[in-house]
């Protein structure tokens, strides 16, 4: 994570202040539950809530940690400074640091997921709007970077919508996966703490109790979570690459927004670079880079080792902050990107009419011409267009073998673009619903 590629709400989730606030809530709710169970005095539980509105002093906690060499103990010591050490004596009773750390981490990831879900919803709105706007904007479809058959820009946006909609669904699943908490004590046996404490704390924090933990929450959940981020990042790359292609000088079918009047690089529109989407291409690589470490974290030794911790201290903030930033950046790009429909037509007609060659081939065979002959007819006329940029339709109309098989109307009809767009509505209905 670096400030350049960060947004404040996601950054705030990973601040020490937020972390200590969540720790506090875990401890306070745990005390309540223990008081309900009669394990600790009610007044001690209540006393903890005295710190309810306290902004914990990160510098002070760091100072204590420098002595105790233990972050949770440092926090508890500081908490006692607010609550009173006598009153605070039952705080954390029967719990281990992992109960606090792992539950907190999952709260953070759950909140991060909420932001990412909102990001995806915002992106989907932009994609949908642009899809509808350009539903009928004709453009050549390309396979292998080569002109194939016509499609529409709306279909391009619609397929990105469908892909991101799947990602939204995956993100929701990932959120559900990670929204668990554990207050199960050393090695997870609840020997020193009643399972009902876990239930209460989880309930208060919007989590589900981890069915079986071993001091730590099992890391397959986190692996699945970060893998989901990696898939979403790959979809971002997919859209970014499309836009980068559209903006290249020879294509120029679209561009990241720039205003002609403006000063700056827009002064030379022919030099306006797709730097935002290039940036997204790189950011996607970085989000994906969290996936394998998260998977390597799954195999811990026995009931727990702490090898996962340094990884998560990095990828927790890094991957979520970067993905949040990337989704927001992409939404801005999609929302405002320039579309150049005239250039789309001009590109499609680079070899005039040639994109219809497949249709003509099919029509010839359907008219009873053998595959070989039909192929030869298309080939010889296509080559003329390729070499001299003449009009394919004109060439066909001038070829007696072709006109022997197909009438002028039939030939004309093969160049009707409506043929290619006739199912756009069907596809839109599939993607966006009726």
């Amino acid at each position: 994570m670096i400030p350049r590629y960060s947004r404040p709400d996601m950054v705030a989730i990973w601040s020490p202040e937020t972390k200590f606030r969540i720790w506090y809530e875990i401890e306070a709710h745990a005390c309540d539950a223990m008081a309900d169970l009669g394990v600790i005095p009610r007044e001690n539980a209540e006393a903890v809530w005295k710190a309810k509105d306290v902004e914990f002093d990160v510098a002070r906690i760091d100072e204590i940690e420098a002595v105790t060499k233990h972050d949770v103990i440092a926090f508890l010591t500081h908490l006692a400074e607010h609550v009173g050490s006598e009153e605070a004596r039952f705080v954390h009773q029967g719990m281990t640091s992992s109960d606090v750390l792992d539950t907190c981490f999952n709260v953070q990831l759950t909140r991060a997921a909420d932001i990412l879900i909102a990001d995806l919803e915002g992106l989907l709105a932009a994609l949908k709007r642009r899809a509808i706007e350009h539903k009928d904007t004709i453009r050549i479809g390309r396979s292998h970077g080569i002109h194939a058959e016509p499609t529409t820009m709306g279909l391009t946006f619609a397929r990105f919508y469908a892909e991101m909609d799947r990602n939204l669904s995956r993100m929701r699943d990932a959120r559900a996966e990670i929204a668990t908490g554990a207050i199960s004590g050393a090695v997870g046996t609840f020997a020193n703490i009643d399972p009902r404490v876990e239930e209460h704390v989880c309930d208060q924090l919007g989590l589900v109790p981890e069915p079986i933990s071993t001091q730590v929450i099992p890391r397959d959940r986190h692996a699945a979570f970060f893998a989901t981020l990696g898939v979403i990042a790959s979809s971002i790359e997919n859209i970014a690459i499309e836009i980068r292609h559209m903006q290249r000088t020879e294509v120029l079918e679209g561009a990241e927004f720039f205003s002609m009047g403006q000063k700056g690089s827009s002064a030379m529109p022919h030099k306006k670079n797709p730097v935002l989407t290039e940036n997204l291409t790189g950011l996607a690589r970085m989000v994906r880079a969290a996936v394998i470490p998260a998977m390597e974290n799954v195999a811990l030794w026995h009931e727990r080792d702490i090898s996962h911790s340094s990884v998560e201290r990095m990828i927790g903030p890094d991957a979520t902050i970067t993905l949040d930033f990337a989704l927001a950046r992409l939404t801005g790009v999609v929302d405002k990107m320039l579309i150049f429909p005239e250039n789309m037509i001009e590109n499609m007609n680079k070899f005039p009419g040639l994109v219809m060659s497949q249709r003509v081939l099919l029509a010839l065979t359907q008219a009873g011409v053998s595959r070989e002959d039909a192929y030869a007819m298309v080939q010889r006329n296509a080559l003329k267009v390729w070499e001299h940029r003449t009009d394919f339709k004109e060439e066909l109309l001038a070829d007696p073998d072709v006109t022997a098989a197909l009438s002028t109307e039939e030939i004309e009809e093969k160049f009707d673009l409506g043929y290619h767009t006739k199912h756009v509505d069907t596809i839109f209905a599939r993607v966006f619903g009726e």
Copy 2:
């Protein structure tokens, strides 16, 4: 994929024979749908089914491909040899190779998913059986490889069960994600083929029509699929590492099965190596190796490029075959692994009673001793056990400061193992249901 780490059912999914069979079914069902729509003559559709029981000749198709340089055309040519070239003339009409290739690939992945789901179910059964068998088998829980507090072997199996049960659920989701088909023609506009053909073909093959395809089925689906395999592989590694640890000479709490009477390496049981679980550790790395390439495959150029194809020709078979093999191997290991309960007790008592030090510390503070004093009392007695391997309980009973705070019964009670296992039933109910 290499034969050594392969099982025949999964290998069969990826054979050329299976592939051609699926291609055939796609083409034949498409012809049916086109006949229903009146696009092609009914008798031509029916003629295709003449090849229903044909075992396609892979060598012959390869021979044709050597000339045509195109696998789908080679297959269609061979199909026409069976059906008759006149009768076969409408086969594949309006379709592109990708319609066949991508739909086939998803059929293969769906079938692979079915095997993997069955594998997981088999593994879950083994884990559950061993969990129940060793529900009360006491063993020391370890954090950081260091003795912490007692737990049971049943809980170890139960947590692997819970993890693999999550993986089963993920695998089912992955299967649902990948069970789509597309018969949408060049660049996916259905210009040359009616969407109802796609619906019919998908319906017949147990797939859902891809809502929007662009000649290819979008690769985020495949990225999510292979990411799921990577998570499952990481869980396999997790179990493998536990067993490898259990079998090491100094621990010896369990072992991959060997029979004492047998010849071979079992002749020297002290040299029996956990080679199966070591092997699983390596196989997990290989399944994970498919994840990043699958994610890199998502960003295709425009409506399609074919960069994903070589990747998928490898990871399709490799990752599914390896994971299938690994799951089966792990199931065998879990099913038959030797558990040495006596060694578990012996290990736990390496420093007699010391694993209870935390409990004693807690009891002292609850009895009103200050944290510092309680810590000092535990420390001085623990150090004696550490240095001379005396019995911790005896040391405590001989320490007047300790006995001033705790009665003999109270001290004795701290060494009751039942304290640590009292919630095993609760946890089992959470994991396995009532």
Copy 3:
């Protein structure tokens, strides 16, 4: 590895026949050394060479392995069938399986490296030839996919040459790293075998003795080896992407070879797809996929565990075979690729003269115009070209503010392409030497 992406020489390195041949040589040379040291009788060492010309029977060895469950023992048993069990009794004495397996693996990797080195040399020759051929073929240089300033196609080939030349150097280093052998016995102490045996065997096989092994050869060597393959694969992707871009319909500055006269897809040259370089893009991902597993293999438990083995059984052949195939395919593509110099000029002039705008800007400021004013002058004329595709030079010559600062000759000179190519010779000398 799949046959479609394999070449026979590299495949042969990984055949069981080759493996057994290398095992045989290791054992036979070890016997020689032991005889020299007087550890075993000379005649027994000589007897082993009776099998010198034997083609070992893989099926028979597999059959024995099915019983012994141990590949090296199976081989030794089969060897004894050729040599005579009495004569063969000292074979493998004091050695462990790893001595044979690891030394053999490194022999195979060394031979694979030799092929890859030859591949790179072949590729370099092709790149050099094309670089010289197109040294002066003018083409627009692009940053961000946007026209920047002119360069030459020769420089493009030259930079690929320089990059691949670095890869050649890396590959040679990787070969040197991996060309070690170990015959050090159990846990690598030479307790049962004299270090001079290792020296002799390594010497005979063209290897260097591993300074310190622990039954296994340390896997950092292999990690470095496969990382090198990953770097080379990434460079292949780099070249592949360039060619794919060149071939896209709107660019068409080059193409994978096709012959106009030919039948097949070349019949429609506008549909000729860069499938070979797309394929290379995918293959690069697969070679890279070996890197992380190879690195995960480094951390073995104590003196050895066998987790690395399954990984290496796969990535050993897969990564080398795939990279060999990719290098050869790329060499073919480079060697024969079509270059379209006229299209390069046409593309450069899409916005006539506009690529010189930066030069004009610089000239204006050098002529004493303030940055702001110079910028405004360039901007207003550039916009005309952007919008109406008029000629930039003409616009400048018609702008009195511009002509007030620069003479007609000065303006004309800014459009001289020789300005951009004046250092091509310098760069060629740097890359190819004088």
Copy 4:
């Protein structure tokens, strides 16, 4: 990168202050060279050096960048504030941002490499010292985590030394690879800047001119650099895993340093956790996570795109800072780690004498006993030891079949540990030189 896992010298390399200082030096040296060539006035070049001792104001530069949206322009503007805008007018003439950015990045990586090289040298010194110290400290060698044959702790340290020594060599190569600079102007043709400027700047900064750049320095260099970091990280993991194993309660052959007298967790030495080496295990994963993104960065579009930039802004600092921290932490751990030779002996004798079974087997066959019989003799006596922990040597001496083949002296001699350590000096000479 996070402060917890950072050291100041490496962090300083990546500070904005350092970056601007390097940018300044590049620009100033370039002006000198241009003055030498007569391209710009000498006094303007000299004027730039007025800012020689200026501490550039990062906040001010950020402020300007907020307006200009361009980091290099913002810096140049700020530089002009120090130098005078008239005097500064030739600064950066003919250069592009990439000339500054890429050359600066390579300076930073080169300096990072210098620190990493020093780190490795420090680690090597610690490993060597501990190797010599424990050259003869007997310990059981383990394959598969299972007791195999005796070795020494010194050999363990020696093999880590040899591995890290290879890493030192790799790091030096990586440094040499990355120590290049480029001042080649737009698309790298030197159209607007003389190649001699590049030579001078590189010379002053301790770099080599990049033979052929394309505005950017080719990213295969960086891929190789980060791959090297990944290999080193994997070796760190290798050592970390060894120490973690040594410290586990059942093994206890070594431990990260703790002092018995101290307060804190060391109070309970049986609970002292190998948290530093567990942490290193995680950090290794994070350094490796940079490898694939660095490789994905190689394939840029045409002469350059900027997708690599966001990746490098992250992995540049992250991977070098983390690796520096990890190497330093590991050096501290190695330097001070506790070694428990008595426990090593105790562990070796868990099954008394059984680790010599292989030697006995060999001796029996050498004494003329058939393999089958020898095997059976060893097996039956080994089983007794396995089951009853009796002494293997005693069992052998009591077995008439064994004593028929081997004399008492011969049997005794098989249990001589000197047999296993006789080549330690040879190996040490290989590793450390004479």
